[in-house]
């Protein structure tokens, strides 16, 4: 299913990207995907940490309420957007490799 809801402009291509001798193209992509995943995880944890600290400081949110929450309506749509941009980021090497293959 195309992600029309959140399509963004693509960055310009990078010229002169060399293969790393002996590193397969797919290994190269996998390394980059793992690093991007770790980045996403770090960002998410920082955000959760911000929220938990603020909520705790304000004394406003019992943990059980978080556990019971389910996203609906606009909240569900916004979460879909977050998931789509996460996918676009983590799996960027696949797109880049395809673009390079097409250019070559």
């Amino acid at each position: 299913m195309p992600m029309e809801c959140c399509r963004v402009n693509l960055p310009p291509p990078t010229a002169g990207r060399r293969e790393i001798t002996g590193l397969s193209v797919i290994e190269d992509q996998a390394l980059s995907m793992i690093a991007a995943l770790a980045s996403e995880l770090a960002v998410a944890r920082e955000r959760i940490d911000t929220l938990e600290r603020l909520l705790d400081a304000n004394g406003t949110l019992p943990r059980a309420q978080v556990e019971a929450y389910r996203a609906e309506g606009e909240a569900a749509q916004q979460r879909e957007g977050l998931r789509h941009s996460l996918i676009a980021k983590v799996f960027r090497p696949l797109r880049d490799a395809s673009r390079r293959a097409l250019e070559g």
Partner: protein, 374 residues
């Protein structure tokens, strides 16, 4: 980077999550450099073909590629750079309209673009630092410059003047004070000015002078002009090549470059030095600053590390720029009394500090400099 004290109004901001992305990639780079790279050095020493081998560094580099641990380090080294650019590109794209509006508000100085300009092949065929689009991309508005500026600050890991990234320019100024204390330039030119990080300290030190920055990219120069204006500096930015600068003979009192050569080619280095001679009036001063490493004096791993930069981070002339005999090249360019050595990295340059000598104190503590008076 989380508490930027040295910043300026044109710098792209980072949202909560963008800051987390940028801090993550900075820390990943530091971990790869601090924790994993020393191990690569040990592996390289094991694979060293020995001093009698007539192509020792290239042979060790080739042997390393047969070692999976090196390949995974090299792959992650480049992945971290690609992710950094991807993160910053998205952040800049998000705020592009606001950045353009801020740029439009600037009236200080000037901007002269050449729609027919063609950048040198070494910048077009390999985008330096694998920055998407490269230096010369004519992106709409100031986007490409904004990406370069923010990326530079993350890439430098805060070691070069925070978000001002002006350590090199301040070191050029310190060198002028150290060796040419009587110079009172009326016209200053930086060859390869990028977003103007190095030009501004010179322009601010000599406020009576007209300061010019020359570089290849229109979007980058639009950003440089706006950045300078927001920092209160009336500088002039011109599109063109450092090898054939669109200025008349003898039209400057100070011509300099700051870590430009390693992003060009062996042939271009000679032409840029000659061009700096042509552009100077008699008595004017050329200063060319480069990374402090001298290739022949590096240990085996550091030589290999510079080949990694060359091949996997598109620093095309890293080896050429750190191997060149600048005294000879400067003489060929027409200069006579040529200074070659190392200038202490300066943060508050002032006349009378000196700081120029024959020994490097190391990366980010010294910069290689060659200079001469015409």
């Amino acid at each position: 980077m989380s508490t930027p004290s040295l910043t300026h109004p044109m710098l792209p901001e980072a949202s909560h999550d963008e800051m987390a992305q940028q801090l993550f990639i900075r820390d990943l780079k530091m971990w790869l450099g601090g924790e994993i790279e020393p191990l690569q050095g040990e592996i390289a020493r094991k694979l060293d073909p020995g001093p009698s081998h007539n192509d020792r560094d290239a042979e060790a580099f080739a042997r390393l590629h047969e070692e999976p641990a090196f390949r995974s380090w090299a792959g992650m080294f480049r992945a971290s750079q690609e992710i950094m650019w991807d993160d910053i590109w998205r952040s800049v794209e998000r705020q592009a309209d606001a950045l353009d509006a801020r740029a439009d508000a600037v009236s200080l100085g000037s901007l002269k673009l050449d729609p027919d300009f063609k950048a040198p092949a070494y910048l077009v065929d390999g985008h330096v630092h694998i920055m998407p689009g490269g230096y010369d991309l004519d992106a709409p508005g100031v986007k490409q410059g904004a990406m370069m500026d923010r990326g530079g600050a993350v890439y430098m890991l805060g070691r070069n003047g925070g978000f001002l990234n002006d350590g090199r320019g301040k070191t050029v100024l310190a060198h002028v004070y150290a060796l040419y204390p009587d110079l009172a330039p009326r016209r200053i030119l930086e060859l390869g000015c990028g977003v103007g990080t190095s030009l501004l300290p010179l322009a601010q030190a000599f406020p009576e002078a007209e300061s010019y920055g020359l570089d290849v990219g229109s979007s980058m120069l639009r950003y440089a002009h706006a950045r300078a204006g927001h920092l209160g500096v009336a500088a002039h930015f011109v599109q063109g090549s450092a090898e054939q600068a669109p200025f008349e003979d003898g039209s400057f009192d100070l011509v300099f470059s700051a870590a430009l050569m390693h992003e060009t080619s062996a042939e271009a280095i000679e032409r840029i030095l000659a061009e700096s001679h042509r552009l100077l009036r008699p008595g004017g001063v050329a200063v060319h600053l480069e990374v402090p490493s001298r290739y022949d004096e590096l240990d085996l791993w550091s030589q290999i590390r510079s080949q990694v930069e060359r091949d996997y981070n598109n620093e095309p002339a890293w080896q050429a720029a750190t191997s060149a005999d600048y005294a000879a090249l400067m003489r060929t360019a027409g200069f006579k009394d040529v200074a070659v050595g190392f200038q202490d990295a300066a943060w508050a340059p002032a006349p009378g500090q000196g700081g120029f000598g024959s020994e490097s104190k190391g990366v980010f503590r010294s910069w290689f400099v060659t200079s001469a008076r015409r």
